[in-house]
């Protein structure tokens, strides 16, 4: 049992930050909700299939569950207080100068806003590809869809984001002038 806990702890340490990042991007930056959902995903893993599936499969299982929990959250609407998100944001580790931090935050806000404009399935597929480096086959397994749908979703997401990014750059350029 101790070894199973140890293995679970290692899995948690490894994938909890990634899962939080995935959920934050999926939810449009609601960090506290993302952390709650990530925690819930691990809890469900520990309760149900932990010990019965290989560790590699556990990762895919986590993302599948996390995505489903995020979908439920979308349906529930924004029920969390924004203040709590600000508290969480205040606890974000500070490793940069204020200027660098501002720039990072701006960039992250931009990424979140652009991702928010994508349909949920395109956003999920793109995040799993770009952040978690899953293959198309693995993404199809996580999302329980075909590989060709994954291929199409990722391409459409990239195409849409290209356009928005270019528009944003043009807008910034225009405002500077």
């Amino acid at each position: 049992m101790a070894s199973e806990d140890a293995e679970f702890t290692m899995l948690f340490q490894e994938f909890y930050p990634s899962l939080c990042r995935f959920l934050e991007c999926l939810l449009g930056g609601r960090a506290s909700v993302a952390q709650d959902l990530a925690q819930e995903s691990f809890l469900q893993l520990h309760r149900t299939v932990w010990g019965t599936i290989p560790v590699g499969e556990a990762r895919f299982w986590l993302y599948r569950v996390a995505r489903n929990l995020a979908l439920n959250e979308f349906r529930r609407g924004e029920t969390r207080h924004r203040l709590f998100d600000r508290v969480v944001e205040a606890l974000r580790p500070r490793t940069q100068t204020p200027e660098e931090e501002y720039e990072t935050q701006e960039r992250q806000e931009l990424v979140l806003s652009m991702l928010k404009g994508l349909p949920e399935d395109q956003r999920t597929a793109l995040l799993l590809r770009e952040q978690e480096q899953l293959s198309y086959r693995e993404i199809a397994e996580v999302l329980d869809v075909s590989e060709s749908k994954v291929k199409t979703d990722i391409f459409r997401a990239r195409t849409a984001l290209r356009e928005r990014w270019a528009q944003r750059v043009r807008a910034i350029g225009a405002s500077v002038r």
Partner: protein, 382 residues
């Protein structure tokens, strides 16, 4: 966008094209400005999205872990408490629709079953390895064209004292067929390593054959086990002259059997799992936030794990080197000093020491290498 190959560019940046398609798209990229821009944009988006860092720190993460483990512990306690109450008989506790058993008993049973299954699997693996080793030796013995056999001859045989007998493809005879069948069974059982064993098996048959058939010439060597051929008594001298007077025994001079290696599947599975676990450890070590006062608490688990993986790494590295698996041996060789350093970190490691190890992990690109190899090994041995 007018170029219709932009979607292929998207697949290219994800490595999802076949080698032929990849070459075709790369040739296209040399001339298509639009696709070049698309590739640059896709890679820029990747960089932006992957650079996103969540709002997380060590304390939050540790609290989350503690909360998960505590909740799971409470759930287990609740399940076992419900099972012990009188109401349990009326309405058994259910978890996800399944009747719950006391958590501790369930875990003990699971552990016992896992131990039995693991022991059985190891037993099967070793048995199979042994069979494979014997089969490999048989295959070499049967397919070699240099098998020779000698027959134990009594001292007063005139023509055959200095000759060795071989199994030749000549006329069939009932007794010869019987003796060859027996010799074939002997070969099927395994390589004939013991001279006394050969003697026991073939000597009596050889004498029977000699007494009934005229000797025939021939230099034919043993074919495979399927040939029904009598013993050929007149064979050229295959033994050195100085051995002419020595008693001759049935031997099959096959090439030396090569020790059958551990079945590639089993070694590969172990290696895949080890590489996966090592990758997880290095990523956890790399990502662990080391606030000065928390350095010890953050890394004690990683140190313990590194020690466990180190022994395994040494065994697997040696095995890979013996098998000529250069890629795996090289990977494990790169990994080993990192495991040693992590395992040998003091109880209160200095941040500089930790940073130095992380830098080495980064310079060697070990995490990515382990991830790629883990996936490749797992797919190869699925």
């Amino acid at each position: 966008m007018s170029c219709n190959l932009t979607e292929k560019v998207s697949l290219l940046v994800d490595g999802e094209l076949s080698p032929v398609e990849t070459r075709a798209i790369e040739r296209h990229l040399l001339t298509c400005i639009e696709c070049q821009q698309a590739r640059a944009d896709f890679l820029n988006l990747r960089q932006q999205i992957s650079a996103y860092t969540p709002a997380l720190n060590t304390q939050v993460q540790q609290r989350a872990l503690a909360s998960v483990l505590a909740k799971q512990g409470r759930a287990a306690t609740r399940a076992s408490a419900q099972a012990a109450t009188p109401e349990a008989g009326r309405r058994p506790a259910r978890i996800f629709g399944v009747p719950a058993m006391p958590f501790a008993i369930g875990m003990l049973i699971t552990a016992a079953v896992a131990l039995i299954v693991t022991s059985f699997v190891f037993y099967i693996v070793f048995q199979q390895a042994e069979r494979d080793r014997q089969q490999a030796t048989n295959t070499q013995a049967n397919s070699s064209r240099e098998q020779t056999a000698t027959v134990n001859q009594p001292p007063n045989t005139n023509n055959d004292n200095s000759k060795a007998n071989t199994f030749g493809a000549s006329d069939e005879a009932a007794n010869g067929k019987q003796s060859v069948d027996q010799s074939q069974q002997q070969r099927a059982r395994g390589p004939v390593n013991s001279e006394s064993e050969n003697r026991q098996t073939f000597a009596a048959n050889a004498r029977r054959v000699r007494s009934k058939r005229p000797a025939s010439s021939g230099t034919a060597l043993a074919r495979n086990a399927g040939i029904n051929a009598p013993l050929d008594l007149h064979v050229p001298e295959l033994l050195p002259p100085h051995e002419a007077s020595a008693p001759r025994y049935i031997t099959i001079n096959a090439t030396a059997p090569v020790a059958a290696p551990v079945r590639p599947v089993d070694a590969g599975t172990l290696a895949a799992r080890h590489v996966e676990q090592a990758g997880l450890l290095l990523r956890a070590f790399r990502n662990a936030r080391t606030v000065e006062q928390d350095a010890a608490a953050d890394l004690s688990y990683e140190k313990r794990r590194a020690r466990q993986l180190l022994y395994q790494n040494i065994v697997l590295r040696r095995e890979a080197a013996n098998e000529g698996n250069v890629q795996l041996a090289s990977l494990l060789d790169s990994l080993e000093p990192i495991l040693i350093d992590i395992a040998n970190l003091p109880d209160q490691p200095h941040a500089d020491d930790v940073r130095a190890i992380r830098e080495r992990i980064g310079r060697k690109n070990l995490v990515a290498l382990l991830e790629v190899n883990s996936t490749a090994l797992a797919r190869a041995y699925e």
